[in-house]
């Protein structure tokens, strides 16, 4: 059993096909055809990952995404037929960790799910410093002084990647590969949006970031302690 996946999609044929493919890959899929019931099913099944179609009737996929994110950091991968920048950015900003554009190849989807479910291999007790934050990698916690900061696993991974090599400037492409698991350069908006989300949680003043610093024209790096 590799993990439980909640599939929220109104297109029953697609949902069923997704179920077949994921089951074939060793996941345990649960189908939900109605956005209105998505949250209830989420609470009931406690999935390890949510696969969410953005174009749901009734409740908007964006609302479902926000509702789930409000109570859990579980990875959310959205499916979308819309390629417009705005739609994707809105999806990412409402809490999705990653997205897959329809039509996608099943292997691509599985790779995205696997990347999101990949747990950092059990590391020995490791403490990292970034800015004025302390990261306990094994304990999956971030603290400013004694105050813990709640991050989603993705945001945590992003922060750890930057903190591990404070001397290195990370291009968006490198971050995509290390954090999201993309082999080839993909949509760098993913990085931009998530860096913004991360900053809104860890920075004292998100307008003047000190933890995740932008290096103009290149990418991001860890702020100096």
């Amino acid at each position: 059993m590799r993990g439980r996946v909640l599939i929220v999609d109104d297109d029953t044929a697609l949902a069923e096909m997704l179920g077949i493919v994921l089951r074939g890959e060793g996941y345990e899929p649960t189908l939900c055809a109605d956005g209105g019931q998505a949250l209830a099913m989420f609470r009931e099944h406690k999935p390890d990952l949510v696969l969410l179609d953005l174009m749901l009737p009734g409740t908007d996929g964006i609302d479902v995404c926000r509702a789930i994110r409000a109570e859990s950091g579980v990875p959310i991968v959205m499916l979308t037929a819309k390629t417009d920048t705005v739609d994707i950015v809105v999806g990412l900003e409402s809490g999705a960790d990653d997205y897959v554009l329809k039509p996608f190849k099943p292997k691509e989807l599985v790779a995205r799910i696997r990347a999101r479910l990949r747990r950092t291999e059990e590391s020995p007790q490791e403490l990292l410093e970034i800015g004025d934050l302390m990261i306990d990698v094994a304990g999956h916690s971030v603290k400013r002084g004694e105050v813990p900061i709640a991050l989603t696993p993705l945001e945590f991974d992003l922060l750890v990647a930057l903190a591990r090599k404070p001397w290195q400037v990370f291009t968006r492409e490198v971050l995509l590969e290390q954090v999201w698991g993309y082999r080839h350069a993909a949509d760098t908006r993913l990085v931009n949006v998530h860096v913004q989300r991360l900053r809104s949680k860890v920075e004292r003043d998100p307008e003047n970031p000190e933890v995740v610093v932008t290096v103009r024209g290149v990418g991001y790096k860890a702020g100096q302690v």
Partner: protein, 535 residues
Amino acid sequence: MALWRRSLQLRVVTTTTLCSLLAIAVLGNVLISQVRDGLLRTKVASSLDEAANGARTSQEALDSADRSAPDVFDTLVPDLVRQLSRGGGSAGTREVVLQRGSGISDPRAPLGRSSFGVDVRDVPASLSAKVESGTGQRWTYTVLTRPSGQQVSALVIGSQVVVPEIGSYDLYFLFPLDKEATTLALVRNALLLAAFGLVILVGGIAWLVTRQVVTPVRMAARIAERLAAGRLEERMRVRGEDDLARLAASFNRMATSLQRQIRQLEDLSRVQRRFVSDVSHELRTPLTTVRMAADVLHDARAGMDPAVERSAEILQAQLDRFEALLADLLEISRYDAGAAVLETEPTDLRIVVRHVIDAMETLADRRGSVLVLEAPDTACIADVDQRRIQRVLRNLVANAVEHGEGEPIVIRVAADDLAVAVAVRDHGVGLAPTDVSMVFNRFWRADPARARTTGGTGLGLSIALEDAHLHGGWLQAWGEPGDGCQFRLTVPRVLGAELDGSPIPLEPSDSRRRRAPVTAGQPYRRIRTPGGVDV
């Protein structure tokens, strides 16, 4: 000069002013000469009368003088002259000259006498001759020199008087015309002033009148320009019911009708674009399902009936093609809707080209073509959307590989101060010059009979062209049958800058025509480019 050509009002005002100036000049001259003639005619008539009177009085005085007195001349004549010159009548002041006639041979006879303001020499000789040739009055004009040196036009009238015991003397009356000259000057000045005023008035009236006509015309021109610039709701103000108001009304009707038609076309095209976009989106979900089903079949094909196995493979391959087509259609519909957004950053195009070459190398290998990169050592940086430029170049290289017949494909990068260019040159079948402008058309094929092997969608170059235009750049093609083609992408270094040239010539230096020595008189061939620029 430019203003002269552009301003109808200026031309009308100037022409009117000049014409009225000419008319007034002619009229003024006629008037002045009429006044002068009138003045002189009166003067001459009264002067002749007075002169005749004077001559008669003198003759009587002379006749009645005491003949026995030995120096009658010396006593009588000065008095007479003084008397005559003093008696100013309606003809104004006068001067008198009494001159010895040429008929007197006695050298002792006195030469003559003249009044104070005149000299004997002021009487023209021609008049003297006439006076002596007969009886009666003779007159002419002359110029009188005053003792002060001032010169005055004058009327001179001569007749003969007989001095007893001596003979006939010529008696001349000179009437200076200074009063008439003053009057004439006064009249002339008044006329000049009036003419000046009149010309200004006429110019002003012309300006006002043309303004009434020109202002609405200018307004129409301005509004037509705004309409042309796309502000379709602009209208002219209609005032009154005159011709200009009718012009404005018709103009507005035309604008309304144009606006309606444009709106209709816009709506139609919006509906159509929306439809293409919606269809493409709607197709995506079922396509995803089919794709996944096909994948499951494809993965399980081993060990199946060979026909089923092959079917699964074909299904898979055609789904790829379907997907590519759908993606391109969506991209095109995004351009058509004007929804394509550039995300630019300063990028070294050499690196982009290298990425593309790395990605295309396997495809080129399969076709037996070598990809050769010719790039300068210095960075070729331009503000571009890397994703789009990469797509353009991938497209150009894929095309070159497909039509390159296994010959080497040269990719050149070059930059100058304003632009960066990438040219992809193949040595394959080439393009007919008539096809050069067609290659960017949607779904266009050089040879419909030729089978597609690499499975392009037929939209690649159209999308590439849109991408180039989005950057404010050019994408142009050169081709010669049997001599291969060259596609050249030129983008400005700074986004929004106007391109006026490319660092790479469109026709490659190794083209057959360039290699051949150019003979004199060989016709110059222009290469049509989709950018509308002749190179």
